[in-house]
């Protein structure tokens, strides 16, 4: 009865049916969101109230003034000039640069090793595939920190001492204080050679573009790779000879208790880099394997029946499709590597967390500011990397009709 009446009234009257306000989804949504807002605001007011009270009673200073104070501690490995008189802002920069250094080198090495391992696991060669499987399954199931300790305390620290250093080829020296390599000494006018190299690289980019356009238009492929090689070698050689720039090597020599000259790479850096590279490479290997397996076999068969050569088949057909599957998880592995570099705090490589969140926090006592700044930096690194990778991903994404 009632429902029949409702039906009639709604049909007859022009006014929309009025539900009770309590049952209106829109009103409910606003109400719930208001509740959430109140909750969030209350939460922040509560913790900041406590924070201020605690800081007042414990005499903790607030604000970001400490950035301009002198740090008065040493850092063992820096990319920019730094000493005890430098400020905490310099400390932050030193730490950030050290983080970026190990991350960038680690990403490059892990990508190369990971692709090699991933392809090896798919190899038709039985024993090679088994070997790659053993490596991947072993390393991915052992915590990174444990691997790092193993390489640092178990291997690098047990290397011979300075007096009995291992002398490797190319004047490289290896001992329990790390590796010392010869250092290139560039003469003042070497900038011309760098400029020539840069110009050659830019020129080869345009050559590649021209070659592709020409191939698309005429079907004839110009020898772009050979032209580019000639461009780079030629430009650099001409600039070098013409400018009379010179390049000397400073060879490490044992003097007293340590080696002088050369570039010193500390064992902390080596252990961190090696552990990060291996650990990330096995995850990349799994991603690469999944990506290649995701390309249907028909694709390479179709390419074969079109008469493409083995190399072109991989380059033009299989890899572009596999990359679409590989790139998104690869991005998160790059981010993981960058974030995992913070484990260096445990072996004393002076990266961001170690020098800033560790030493600086102890020196200043301003936990909240220091922790927030550190977290914001990592957050920014994450967001920048994912923005770049999203752009790249959109570029190579499948264009659908």
């Amino acid at each position: 009865m009632a429902s029949e009446n409702d039906l009639k009234s709604s049909r007859i009257s022009d006014a929309p049916a009025k539900a009770s306000l309590v049952n209106d989804p829109k009103v409910r949504a606003i109400f719930y969101q208001f509740l959430l807002l109140v909750g969030v605001v209350w939460f922040f007011v509560y913790i900041f109230g406590n924070l201020n009270a605690n800081r007042a009673s414990q005499n903790i200073r607030t604000g970001f003034d400490f950035f301009s104070n002198t740090s008065s501690f040493e850092i063992g490995f820096t990319l920019i000039p730094y000493d005890r008189a430098s400020t905490f802002a310099d400390v932050l920069l030193v730490g950030l640069l050290n983080t970026l250094l190990v991350s960038v080198i680690g990403i490059v090495l892990a990508t190369i090793l990971g692709f090699a391992l991933g392809i090896a696991r798919l190899s038709s060669n039985w024993i090679l595939a088994r070997l790659a499987t053993i490596v991947v399954e072993t390393l991915r199931n052992i915590p990174l920190l444990l691997q790092m300790f193993f390489w640092y305390f178990g291997v690098l620290k047990l290397m011979p001492n300075v007096k009995q250093s291992l002398e490797l080829p190319l004047f490289i020296v290896f001992n329990n204080r790390g590796i010392v390599t010869p250092e290139p000494l560039f003469s003042d006018n070497f900038g011309i050679v760098w400029t020539a190299l840069l110009v050659a690289i830019i020129a080869s980019y345009f050559v590649t573009r021209w070659a592709k356009a020409r191939q698309d238009a005429t079907g004839i492929r110009p020898p772009a790779a050979r032209i580019n090689t000639a461009l780079v070698i030629g430009f650099v050689a001409i600039a070098w000879l013409a400018s009379g720039a010179s390049l000397d090597w400073s060879i490490p020599v044992l003097q007293g208790f340590n080696y002088k000259n050369g570039i010193h790479i500390p064992p902390e850096f080596l252990a961190l880099l090696w552990a990060l590279t291996l650990y990330t490479a096995v995850f990349i290997a799994e991603i690469v394997r999944a990506g290649i397996l995701a390309v249907p076999k028909g694709q390479s068969e179709a390419a074969q029946s079109l008469g493409l050569k083995e190399g072109d088949r991989l380059k033009q057909v299989v890899i572009p499709q596999a990359l679409r599957v590989i790139v998104p998880p690869l991005t998160s592995q790059y981010l993981n590597l960058t974030k995992n570099s913070s484990l260096a705090v445990a072996i004393g490589y002076p990266e961001l967390v170690s020098v800033f969140m560790g030493t600086s926090l102890n020196q200043t006592g301003q936990a909240v500011e220091v922790v927030l700044v550190t977290m914001l930096i990592y957050l920014a690194l994450s967001l920048i990397t994912s923005a770049f990778m999203n752009w790249y991903n959109a570029r190579i994404a499948l264009t659908e009709r």
């Binding site: 949504a29 719930y32 969101q33 959430l36 807002l37 969030v40 913790i47 406590n50 924070l51 009270a53 605690n54 800081r55 009673s57 190899s123 038709s124 060669n125 039985w126 024993i127 090679l128 088994r130 070997l131 399954e137 072993t138 991915r140 199931n141 052992i142 915590p143 990174l144 920190l145 444990l146 691997q147 300790f149 193993f150 305390f153 178990g154 291997v155 620290k157 047990l158 974030k339 995992n340 913070s342 484990l343 705090v345 445990a346 967390v353 969140m357 926090l361 936990a367 909240v368 922790v371 550190t374 977290m375 990592y378 957050l379 994450s382 967001l383």
Partner: protein, 380 residues
């Protein structure tokens, strides 16, 4: 006509053709080796190289862990000799420390009992053939943590000797952190995942910010934050256990990752399921609890297990903020004077690595098994 027949007869062979060589063997050991390892020159070189690498690694490990290893002794001194392998007395001597930390040795039965109950419940929960998943789930996720806390911590009404968390350590602590992280983060993660898919803009943005914040920073910064900032955020005089601080950090961090896994499951559910629930007149809570969430959670079991593997490995980070987990216990031992010899760190890390490997590998096998089992072939 006759001419052509005569001519074509020239092409007819009058004697037997010589025997062809037998075809290349494709069966048996030799055939298999030829097909799978020595099909070309390049492949042969790769195979020989691989065999050489495997030989080097195998003999190296065999010599280090067995031939040159020291098996008996009660101090680092026995291992301070030339060309020594693993120093097993170190592991044997400190085994209880690696497993229980500073837990009093008369009370070992308590963590042992907790291990046993947990193992049985996990077996009942994880074996797909055993019915009553809801009961086991509630027992494991709700009742078991409470029982374990009172059993291991003791004190109060239990009548057991109270063992403060400072004395917990070793593998026991590793498992406490891992299980608490997984169990406590699960409901938070589910709520965050539902919130991220909500149509209410404010709810969605709060969840997105929360998830992306934790996912964007390394766990070690979260642990630092939990250990130095958390006490400042609470009312003055609140005394806060070091273990609880680490657990709060680990839980929030893991919840963000769980949320993304669960969101993946929710997105994989066909739209028709949501529409059917609406058409039946179910409200949001009923539709979620009865229709969508059960399906989503079933799909994401492998993802949750993978998350658990990551978390299990990441528990080693608590040793950086001053807790003595398995890795911390091994590391602490190598720093003492009595146990200092060149190969002791490697021995300890090999031991810890084996334990971590066994747990993680078992979990990853389980995850693959569930993935195959849950793959009902509806996709594609």
């Amino acid at each position: 006509m006759a001419d052509t027949t005569k001519n074509s007869a020239l092409y007819v062979r009058s004697e037997m053709a010589p025997d062809m060589p037998p075809p290349v063997r494709t069966q048996g050991v030799v055939g298999w080796l030829r097909a799978n390892m020595f099909s070309s020159v390049g492949n042969s070189i790769l195979s020989l190289l691989s065999i050489y690498v495997i030989y080097l690694a195998a003999t190296g490990i065999y010599n280090f862990t067995i031939v040159n290893a020291i098996w008996q002794g009660d101090g680092g001194a026995v291992c301070r000799v030339e060309n020594v392998g693993a120093c097993w007395p170190y592991v044997g001597n400190r085994l209880t420390f690696f497993i229980y930390g500073f837990y009093p040795d008369t009370e070992y039965w308590r963590p042992n009992l907790a291990f046993a109950i947990g193992g049985i419940l996990l077996f009942l929960l994880a074996t797909p053939q055993i019915p009553g998943k809801i009961i086991w789930g509630v027992l494991f996720l709700v009742v078991y943590p409470v029982i374990t806390f009172f059993l291991v911590h003791g004190g109060g009404f239990t009548g057991l000797e109270a063992v403060p968390t400072e004395k917990w350590g070793g593998l026991m602590l590793t498992l406490v952190v891992a299980v608490t992280g997984i169990v406590a983060s699960f409901p938070i993660g589910v709520v965050l995942a539902l919130g991220r898919r909500s149509k209410m803009p404010l709810v969605r943005s709060v969840c997105v910010v929360f998830i992306e914040l934790w996912r964007g920073v390394p766990l070690i910064t979260v642990l630092f934050m939990a250990s130095v900032m958390l006490p400042l955020f609470l009312p003055e005089g609140t005394n806060f256990d070091k273990l609880v601080r680490a657990l709060v950090g680990v839980t929030l961090f893991t919840a963000a990752y769980t949320a993304e896994v669960v969101r993946g499951g929710l997105q994989a559910i066909p739209k028709g399921q949501f529409e059917a629930a609406d058409a039946l007149g179910l409200n949001y809570f009923q539709a979620t609890m009865l229709i969508t969430l059960p399906q989503a959670l079933k799909i994401v079991i492998p993802g949750i297990v993978n998350n658990s593997i990551s978390l299990f490995k990441d528990t080693t980070l608590v040793s950086i903020v001053g807790l003595v987990d398995l890795l911390g216990a091994v590391r602490a031992g190598t720093a003492t004077g009595t146990w200092s010899a060149p190969t002791i760190p490697v021995t300890g890390y090999l031991f810890a690595a084996t334990i971590f490997w066994v747990f993680s590998f078992a979990m990853s096998r389980y995850s693959q098994y569930m993935e195959r089992r849950l793959d009902t072939g509806h996709k594609s």
